[in-house]
């Protein structure tokens, strides 16, 4: 059975990131999805949404960000689509590759969140469609 698509749209503000993430995680908990998978989805969503809230819109402009999601069966997976109407920005490309071998002194945190998302989600893609940034995350649950 394929569930209905749900959508949450809020002002692109860091304060709203949790408000978008929590309902999605609640639905996953209700489906008894493995805790580890929920954790990985949580980190990935936080990273992407914080990026959107921080960079999608110029400082003096307000804009919206939305997350819609649907759960499909066979295999059971969640597909989350994050959209914003901000400047063209692909967090997957624009984030620096972290240097995992660097020493403590040289180590930087930039790009780590996206790195974690790319390495724990099954698929993450970004497209620019009709003046919108569209980022799709797929994860088998």
């Amino acid at each position: 059975m394929t569930n209905k698509e749900k959508i949450i749209t809020l002002l692109a503000d860091i304060k709203n990131v949790d408000a978008i993430i929590e309902p999605i995680l609640d639905d996953l908990r209700e489906l008894s999805v493995d805790k580890k998978i929920i954790y990985r989805i949580h980190i990935s969503l936080e990273e992407i949404l914080v990026n959107v809230a921080s960079y999608a819109y110029p400082k003096d402009e307000k804009g919206m960000m939305s997350a819609s999601y649907i759960i499909k069966d066979n295999p059971r997976m969640i597909i989350i689509t994050i959209k914003d109407k901000g400047i063209p920005f692909d967090p997957l490309k624009d984030a620096k590759e972290p240097d995992l071998d660097a020493s403590v002194e040289e180590r930087r945190v930039g790009g780590l969140g996206i790195f974690i998302a790319k390495n724990t989600m099954d698929e993450i893609t970004h497209e620019r469609i009709n003046d919108e940034n569209v980022l799709i995350i797929k994860k088998e649950i």
Partner: protein, 101 residues
């Protein structure tokens, strides 16, 4: 989400007990706390017994603390890390940088 921080100080040894999430919202609090408390500390322990979640914002603060302690010839240890957080540390090779026990 509220993050609670408590501490135990013995001479120049400080143990910090963190309760809650270390994420985008709460990590600034941890940063402010640590930056003010590390003065004069040569052994810092971050006790993660009650830390349920660390995102990349949290990694930033943890790295800051490690760099600061190392920079002054001190030591930092992270204890009682749960499996999910440990996986994040391993994935990002923070296990090479941090002392986790």
């Amino acid at each position: 989400m509220i993050m609670k921080i408590t501490e135990k100080k013995e001479g120049n040894k400080l143990t910090v007990f963190i309760d809650g999430r270390i994420d985008t919202t709460t990590s600034p609090n941890l940063y402010e706390y640590l930056s003010s408390k590390m003065e004069g500390v040569m052994e810092l322990t971050l006790d993660f017994s009650k830390v349920e979640y660390v995102s990349s914002a949290g990694l930033r603060v943890i790295l800051y603390a490690e760099k600061t302690m190392k920079g002054k010839g001190g030591k930092m240890v992270v204890t009682n890390v749960n499996d999910d957080i440990m996986e994040t540390f391993e994935l990002t090779c923070f296990t090479d940088i941090l002392t986790i026990i």
